[in-house]
C-alpha cells in the first residue's frame, strides 16, 4: 500500500507542499470575515486560507478555521485530493479510473485505543460540552445562523457494523443544540424519519469535523445499503481508517478527527434551519423546520482545525469543497455505480457550473431506449433529490471538458426529439431550490418540497456527425504544443482534451 496521508492535518501538508495555502496570522473574525476571505479565494482560484487567529467571544477553545480546504484548482478540481491519495492527477479520466479501481476493493476500518486517539485529546461530556466554545463561522449575510458545513454525520446502519456516514450541515442554536439538514430520500434521513421518529426514539449520531479527505469523500458518495462508507474511505487511501468508540453511544468515529460532536437526533422536535446561501449559488428560503441534534459530548484535538465550506461559491467559474467533492468523489462513484448496474457508461460527471443540479454522462446508445433507462435509473436512486438534468454525450467525448459539452448541446440536441421530460411536476425536489416559490416549497415534515418538480434528460449524442476538433497528426500536435509551451503557453492549458482518448 502506498504511503498516503490519512488525517486532515496531513492533507493540509499536501496543500502546503503545493504552495496552495495562505496561513493568515492576523486576527480574523468568524462573523462573515473568514467566509468573505474564503469566498474571494474560491472565486479567484487562489490559495486556501488557514485562519490561525480567530476572534471569538467565548474563545474557550483555541480553534483555527480553514476555508474550503478541499477546493481543487478550477481547471483540475480533483488535483489535491488525487495527490493526497497518490492517484493520477494530470488527466481527469485517468483520475476517475484510479478512484474507481480503488473503490472496487473496500478496506474495513480498524478500532484503536481511545487513549491514543487525537480526537480524544480533550473530552467534555454533559453540561461541560458546549458548541459555543468553537468559532463556527457565520458564512453569508442573511444566513439563519452560524454553521458547521463540512461535517460528516456518523449514524447507525441496521446492516453495517460501522454505521452510515454522510454529509449533513448543522446550524448552531445554542450550547447544546443544533438543527440538522436531513432531507428525506437520503439514507440517514430516511432512517430517522421513517424508523427512529416513528418509534419515538432518538437516533444516536456523531458529527465529525475534520475527519480527513477519504472520509469526507465517501460521505459524498452513494454507497449501497449494507456496505459502509468508511470501508470505501479505506479503499480510497489504501489503508484502514482507524476508528475509536464514542463516549456516549455505540458509534465509532475517526480517531484523527479534529472535532467530534456526539449526540442524539430527537424525535418530533424541530428547530429552524436556514435561510442559507446554498449550493445553487443563491440564498434559499424560507426557514425550514429541521430535526434537532441534542449534544451529549464533544471531543476534540488540542487547537483543532475547523474546516468549513462557503456554500454557493461552487457555481459558475468558482469551486469550493462541495463542488470539488462532487467532481472528484461523486463523479467516480456514480460512474462505478452505473457500470455495476449494467450500464455502458464511460464517465458520469457533474456539470462544473452548477455543483449538483446537472450532470453529464458519456455513453453510447447501447440499444433503443437505453438513455431513457439510464436516466430513469438515476432519477429513482441517487439522483432523485438534487439532480434535475442529465446531458448525454458521445461515449468518447470527455464530459470533463465543458467546451465539448456545450458544443454537443448546441449542435447535436434536437429540440424536437432530444429533450425528454419525465412527466410534468411529478418528482420530489429539495426545498433548497430557487425556482419554486415559498408556497410551493411549503414546510414538509420530511424535508422535501410540498410541490413536486420535473426531471429531464438531453440526448446530445452526435450520431457520428461531430465537427473536427483538431488538425494535423498526433506528432504534429505534440510538436505544436511544445512550440507554444516554449512561447509561454501553459502546458496545463491543453487539458482537458475534447475526447477521452486524447486525455488518457
Amino acid at each position: 500500500m502506498s504511503a498516503v496521508p490519512v488525517p486532515f492535518r496531513a492533507f493540509l501538508d499536501v496543500l502546503e507542499e503545493r504552495n496552495a495555502t495562505a496561513r493568515i496570522t492576523d486576527e480574523v473574525s468568524w462573523d462573515l470575515e473568514a467566509s468573505a476571505v474564503t469566498m474571494l479565494a474560491n472565486e479567484t482560484d487562489d490559495r486556501i486560507p488557514i485562519f490561525e487567529a480567530v476572534q471569538s467571544r467565548n474563545g474557550d477553545v483555541d480553534a483555527r478555521l480553514v476555508g474550503d480546504p478541499y477546493r481543487g484548482p478550477q481547471r483540475r478540481p480533483w488535483e489535491f485530493l488525487g495527490r493526497a491519495f497518490d492517484l493520477p492527477v494530470d488527466a481527469g479520466p485517468a483520475y476517475y479510473e484510479g478512484v474507481i479501481d480503488r473503490l472496487r476493493e473496500p478496506v474495513d476500518p480498524t478500532v484503536g485505543d481511545p487513549a491514543d486517539a487525537p480526537c480524544k485529546e480533550v473530552v467534555r461530556t454533559g453540561a461541560d460540552a458546549s458548541l459555543l466554545e468553537f468559532p463556527w463561522p457565520y458564512i453569508h449575510h442573511g444566513d439563519g445562523g452560524r454553521y458547521a458545513t463540512l461535517a460528516t454525520l456518523v449514524a447507525p446502519a441496521p446492516d453495517s457494523e460501522w454505521g452510515s456516514w454522510s454529509r449533513h450541515r448543522a446550524m448552531i442554536h445554542d450550547a447544546s443544540q443544533a438543527s440538522l439538514l436531513l432531507l428525506a430520500g437520503e439514507q440517514v434521513p430516511n432512517l430517522y424519519y421513517f424508523e427512529y421518529e416513528r418509534e419515538d426514539e432518538p437516533m444516536p449520531v456523531a458529527l465529525t469535523i475534520g475527519a480527513g479527505p477519504a472520509v469526507e469523500c465517501t460521505a459524498e458518495m452513494w454507497i449501497p445499503v449494507g456496505r459502509s462508507e468508511v470501508a470505501y474511505a479505506g479503499a480510497l487511501q489504501e489503508r484502514p481508517v482507524e476508528l475509536v468508540p464514542c463516549e456516549t453511544n455505540d458509534l465509532r468515529v475517526p480517531a484523527s478527527a479534529e472535532v467530534v460532536i456526539e449526540g442524539r437526533v430527537m424525535p418530533n422536535e424541530r428547530l429552524d434551519e436556514g435561510p442559507f446561501g446554498d449550493y445553487f449559488g443563491y440564498m434559499n428560503g424560507p426557514r425550514r423546520s429541521m430535526p434537532v441534534l441534542e449534544v451529549d459530548a464533544i471531543t476534540h484535538r488540542e487547537e483543532p482545525y475547523l474546516p468549513f465550506c462557503v456554500e454557493g461559491t461552487g457555481v459558475g467559474y468558482g469551486q469550493n469543497s462541495s463542488s470539488t467533492f462532487q467532481a472528484a468523489a461523486g463523479g467516480p462513484d456514480a460512474t462505478l455505480g452505473l457500470r455495476a448496474a449494467g450500464f455502458d457508461v464511460e464517465l458520469a460527471v457533474p456539470w462544473p457550473f452548477t455543483s449538483r443540479t446537472a450532470w453529464v454522462i458519456a455513453t453510447d446508445r447501447s440499444y433503443p431506449g437505453s438513455l431513457h433507462e439510464l436516466a430513469n435509473f438515476i432519477f429513482t436512486t441517487w439522483g432523485m433529490l438534487h439532480i434535475d438534468f442529465f446531458v448525454f454525450v458521445d461515449g468518447d467525448v470527455n464530459p470533463l471538458n465543458p467546451r465539448a459539452v456545450l458544443e454537443a448541446i448546441a449542435l447535436h440536441a434536437d429540440p424536437a426529439e432530444d429533450f425528454h421530460q419525465f412527466g410534468v411536476e411529478r418528482m420530489p425536489k429539495v426545498p433548497l431550490n430557487i425556482y419554486q416559490t415559498p408556497d410551493e416549497k411549503g414546510s414538509a415534515t420530511v424535508g422535501t418540497s410540498k410541490t413536486k418538480t420535473a426531471k429531464a434528460y438531453i440526448d446530445a449524442l452526435s450520431d457520428g456527425n461531430r465537427p473536427k476538433q483538431a488538425i494535423g497528426d498526433e506528432g504534429e500536435r505534440d510538436r505544436a504544443r511544445e512550440l507554444l509551451a516554449e512561447a509561454g503557453v501553459s502546458e496545463s492549458a491543453f487539458e482537458p482534451a475534447h475526447t477521452m482518448e486524447l486525455n488518457r
Binding site: 472565486e43 459558475g316 504534429e476
Partner: protein, 466 residues
C-alpha cells in the same frame, strides 16, 4: 483606424500575443489550432525566409469563456477596432454595427499605399500550407471589386495554385459583380474595421451598397487599385483578373461565413503583388473550434441581432446578446429585462425570426455580466424550472442552419427562461451568493485591503462585485 501591424503591436502590449519562429514543421495551421484549443494568445510567426511574409493567428478570436479569464472572445477584435484595451462587450457590438451603417455623404480618405510592388510571386510569399494539403492557403482576406458606383468589399479565402494563380471562395452575391477578364483586388492584413464590417455586411446580405456609402468607407483610409479601393495600410495586395477558365466545383474548406450565405468558387490570375516591408498577414485554420473566421461571424451576428432587438419595441430591454463560439453559434444567449409577463416568449421568438442559425435561446436577467458565462451556464439549470421554463415550440418551424443533427423539413425551437418571473413577489426572489451581496461594505473593503498581506496572489478586483 488601426493598421493591422499596429493591432498586433497592441495585442503584444496587452499580453494577447506570443511570438515564435515559424517552424518547418508542423504547419502553422496546426500550431494555430492548438493555440486556440488551449484558449491561448494570438500567435505571431516570424518569417523564417526573407521572401516570406510573417503570419499571425488568433488575432480576432480565441478564448471560450468556459473558465474564468481576464480576456474575452471580443477582446482582441475590440482592441483592433480601437474600442479600448479592455473593451466592454456591448461597445464592441456597437462599433461593428456602426461600421456597417449607411452614411448620407461620402467622406473617403485616400492615403498612399503602404505596400510596394515586389517581384515575388504569390507563391513566394510563403503563405502557410495546411496539413495533408499540397498548396498554400490564405484566409481572412478582403476582396475589392470596383464599379462605377463605388467599391464593394467581401471576404475571400483560397488556395495558391502556382506562382500567379489562386482559387478562392467569395460570397455568391459579390461574384455576380465581376466578369471574366475584369480586375479585382485581394488585400491581406487589413485593419480590423474593414474585416469586421465586411463580415457583418456579408452575413446580413448587404453587399449591394458600395463601401463608400457605409461608415467603414469613411473610417478606413483607402487607395485605388486595379480592382477597387483597398485599405491603404494592407500588408499584402494582390491585383488579379478573373481567369477565363473557371472551376465547375468547389474544392475549398469553407470559412464560417459560408455557413450563413452562399459562396462561389473563382480562379484569379495574379497580375501584381505588393507587400509592405516585413509584411505580416493574419490567417486562421478552418473548421476548428474558436477559429477567427467563426469568432468574426459570432460577433458580427451578435452585433446585428443586438441592434435589431433593441430597435424594435421603442425601448432597449436587452443588455447584451452572445453567440458563444464554443457552441459554434447553435445557441444564443440574451441578457434582458423582462418588460412584462410573456415578453420572454416574444423576445425569444423575435430572435428566431431574425436568424435561422440557432434553435435554442437562453434568457438571463439583465444584471448578468457578459464576462460571466460561467454564471449563465449555472443559471440555465438552477434558475429555470425544468418543466415550466424550458419551452418548446411545435415541431413545425424551419430547421436551424447550424446545429448538425440530421433532420429534414421542420423542427422545433427551444427557449430557456432563466430570468425571474416578473409576476413573483419581491420576497420570492432569492438573493445571489456573491462577494458583493453576501458581505457588508466594511468587510469587503477590509478583505480587499488585506488581500496581498494575507498571502494571496490574485487580483480580487477582477471578481464581479469585489
Amino acid at each position: 483606424m488601426t493598421a493591422f501591424r499596429t493591432h498586433l503591436e497592441f495585442l503584444r502590449k496587452t499580453d494577447e500575443l506570443c511570438s515564435l519562429e515559424r517552424p518547418e514543421s508542423p504547419s502553422p495551421q496546426v500550431v494555430a489550432a492548438e493555440a486556440l484549443r488551449a484558449d491561448g494568445p494570438a500567435v505571431r510567426f516570424r518569417a523564417a525566409e526573407k521572401s516570406h511574409v510573417g503570419l499571425a493567428s488568433g488575432v480576432y478570436g480565441g478564448v471560450d469563456q468556459l473558465t474564468r479569464q481576464d480576456r474575452s472572445p471580443w477582446t482582441r477584435l475590440g482592441i483592433g477596432l480601437g474600442v479600448d484595451r479592455d473593451p466592454e462587450y456591448v461597445d464592441v457590438l456597437e462599433a461593428i454595427t456602426d461600421l456597417g451603417d449607411r452614411i448620407d455623404e461620402r467622406d473617403v480618405t485616400y492615403v498612399e499605399r503602404a505596400a510596394t510592388a515586389t517581384d515575388r510571386t504569390v507563391r513566394e510569399l510563403g503563405l502557410p500550407t495546411p496539413p495533408d494539403e499540397a498548396w498554400p492557403h490564405f484566409t481572412l482576406g478582403l476582396l475589392s471589386v470596383g464599379s462605377d458606383d463605388g467599391t464593394y468589399w467581401a471576404p475571400i479565402h483560397g488556395t495558391v495554385l502556382d506562382g500567379d494563380t489562386i482559387r478562392a471562395r467569395v460570397p455568391a452575391a459579390i461574384r455576380e459583380r465581376f466578369e471574366r477578364g475584369e480586375s479585382v483586388t485581394v488585400a491581406l492584413g487589413v485593419p480590423a474595421e474593414a474585416l469586421a464590417a465586411t463580415t457583418l455586411l456579408t452575413i446580413t446580405d448587404r453587399l449591394s451598397t458600395p463601401i463608400e456609402d457605409r461608415r467603414v468607407g469613411s473610417t478606413v483610409p483607402v487607395i485605388p487599385t486595379a480592382g477597387g479601393l483597398v485599405p491603404s495600410s494592407a500588408e499584402v495586395v494582390l491585383e488579379t483578373e478573373l481567369a477565363t477558365q473557371q472551376p465547375d466545383t468547389r474544392s475549398e474548406k469553407p470559412e464560417f461565413w459560408e455557413r450563413l450565405v452562399d459562396g462561389a468558387t473563382v480562379t484569379l490570375d495574379v497580375t501584381g503583388v505588393f507587400a509592405r516591408d516585413d509584411a505580416v498577414v493574419p490567417f486562421t485554420p478552418l473548421d476548428v473550434p474558436l477559429a477567427d473566421d467563426l469568432q468574426l461571424v459570432a460577433l458580427a451576428l451578435a452585433a446585428r441581432l443586438y441592434d435589431r432587438v433593441n430597435g424594435y419595441w421603442g425601448v432597449s430591454p436587452v443588455d447584451w446578446l452572445l453567440l458563444p463560439a464554443a457552441g459554434r453559434l447553435g445557441i444564443c444567449i440574451v441578457s434582458t429585462e423582462v418588460l412584462y409577463a410573456g415578453f420572454e416568449w416574444q423576445l425569444a421568438n423575435f430572435l428566431f425570426s431574425r436568424s435561422d442559425c440557432f434553435d435554442t435561446v437562453v434568457l438571463v436577467d439583465e444584471e448578468t455580466d457578459p464576462h460571466d458565462l460561467g454564471r449563465v451556464l449555472g443559471d440555465l439549470w438552477v434558475k429555470a424550472h425544468p418543466s415550466r421554463d424550458w419551452l418548446f415550440s411545435e415541431p413545425d418551424a424551419p430547421v436551424a442552419r447550424l446545429p448538425t443533427y440530421e433532420r429534414d423539413g421542420t423542427g422545433a425551437r427551444l427557449y430557456v427562461d432563466a430570468t425571474w418571473d416578473p409576476r413573483w413577489d419581491e420576497e420570492y426572489i432569492a438573493p445571489r451568493v456573491s462577494f458583493l451581496e453576501s458581505y457588508p461594505p466594511d468587510i469587503r473593503t477590509a478583505v480587499r485591503e488585506s488581500w496581498t498581506a494575507f498571502g494571496f496572489d490574485s487580483e480580487p478586483d477582477d471578481v464581479g462585485g469585489a
